[in-house]
């Protein structure tokens, strides 16, 4: 009985690790695509209007920062699940 309990405990730990890894992977998909779109549009804007490159760059960093937040929250959840 005790052995069984210990095994169950171990498999819970394993599931936690799997869940953390999968969770982080899933959390990275959306922001990855999103940052791609943000940067692509910013480059397009800079190429079309080089005189507005400063504004486009600042706005691009802002957009990246907002988009990236989701991936970072995923990373924090990963750390919490694995180590906390």
């Amino acid at each position: 009985m005790l052995e069984l309990l210990a095994q169950a405990d171990q498999s819970v730990d394993g599931l936690k690790a799997v869940g953390a890894g999968l969770g982080y992977g899933l959390a990275a998909i959306g922001p990855g695509i999103g940052i791609g779109i943000v940067v692509a549009s910013a480059i397009e804007a800079m190429a079309r209007q080089p005189e507005a490159a400063g504004t486009a760059r600042t706005t691009m960093f802002l957009g990246i920062a907002f988009t990236e937040a989701l991936a970072l929250i995923g990373f924090v959840v990963f750390i919490l699940l694995n180590f906390a």
Partner: protein, 263 residues
């Protein structure tokens, strides 16, 4: 290095546990309320470095800036042109000292990540990013209340212009959560998680490099993780600058939003 040699002698590649990487024992004034560990000392260093930068730059101001004065003046120029002018406009100039101190403080406490023998970004601990985010939260709310009055500020931040009245039931709670709760939370998490992720990356490749170093035939491929480690170090310098910049510019955006509501 000690870690890696231990790992190599025990036959396998052991990554240090997260507690080993992040929890530092007290160094100075152990056991008292003023106990300082590595993180606290890095923050003290960052504070003193920020202060000294501007004190030294301002003491003997020359017409043609050189050395420290040049760094400080480029900093002021950078904050004014790339942060304040892009987000608030000329009436945000009175916040330049605040943005400058936030920028240089975060930069100095991040850059310790790649300084040899220190190699720990102090912002990889959550406490100080949280404090900075709360400071920003208090400041932009205070600015909003001072500029628009209490009820005007609440109304302008909760009710976006041009929303049909029927949708307000959904929009107001969403705007409330995103303006007053998610903003400081995401400011904190962005700084903290970026620095923690960078630190873990550097540790991973440093441990790999060191483990291959001590393992006879595998030393032939030691250059692979080592080159990645060098590249990542350069990347982390960029990240340290970028995170300081992003924290400052988001602060400016929030303060600008509180000063000039959307119409």
């Amino acid at each position: 290095m000690i870690l890696a040699t231990e790992a190599a002698s025990s036959g396998g590649l052991h990554f240090p546990s997260i507690g080993h990487l992040l929890v530092w024992p007290g160094i100075l004034f152990d056991g008292t309320i003023f106990e300082l560990n590595k993180v606290g000392i890095i923050y003290l260093f960052a504070t003193i470095a920020t202060l000294m930068l501007f004190i030294v730059a301002g003491r003997r101001a020359a017409l043609v800036p050189r050395g420290v004065q040049l760094v400080a003046e480029s900093g002021v120029e950078f904050i004014r042109e790339s942060v304040v002018n892009q987000t608030i406009g000329p009436d945000g100039y009175k916040f330049i000292p605040f943005f400058l101190s936030v920028f240089f403080f975060i930069l100095f406490s991040n850059i310790t990540e790649i300084i040899p023998f220190i190699q720990f970004p102090a912002n990889a601990r959550m406490a100080f990013p949280f404090l900075l985010a709360m400071l920003v939260w208090i400041i932009y709310n205070a600015v909003g209340v001072m500029n628009q009055g209490f009820f005007g500020y609440i109304k302008n931040s909760l009710v976006p212009p041009g929303v049909p009245p029927a949708l307000l039931v959904i929009v107001i709670p969403i705007e409330f959560v995103s303006t007053f709760i998610v903003r400081p939370f995401s400011l904190m998490v962005r700084l903290f998680a970026n620095m923690l992720a960078g630190h873990l990356l550097l540790v991973t490749f440093a441990v790999l490099t060191a483990a291959l170093w001590t393992k006879g035939p595998l030393a032939a491929i030691i250059w692979a993780p080592f080159i990645v480690l060098i590249g990542l170090t350069a990347f982390e310098i960029l990240v340290a600058f970028l995170q300081a910049f992003i924290f400052t510019i988001l602060t400016a955006v929030y303060i600008g939003g509180a000063m000039h509501p959307e119409h």
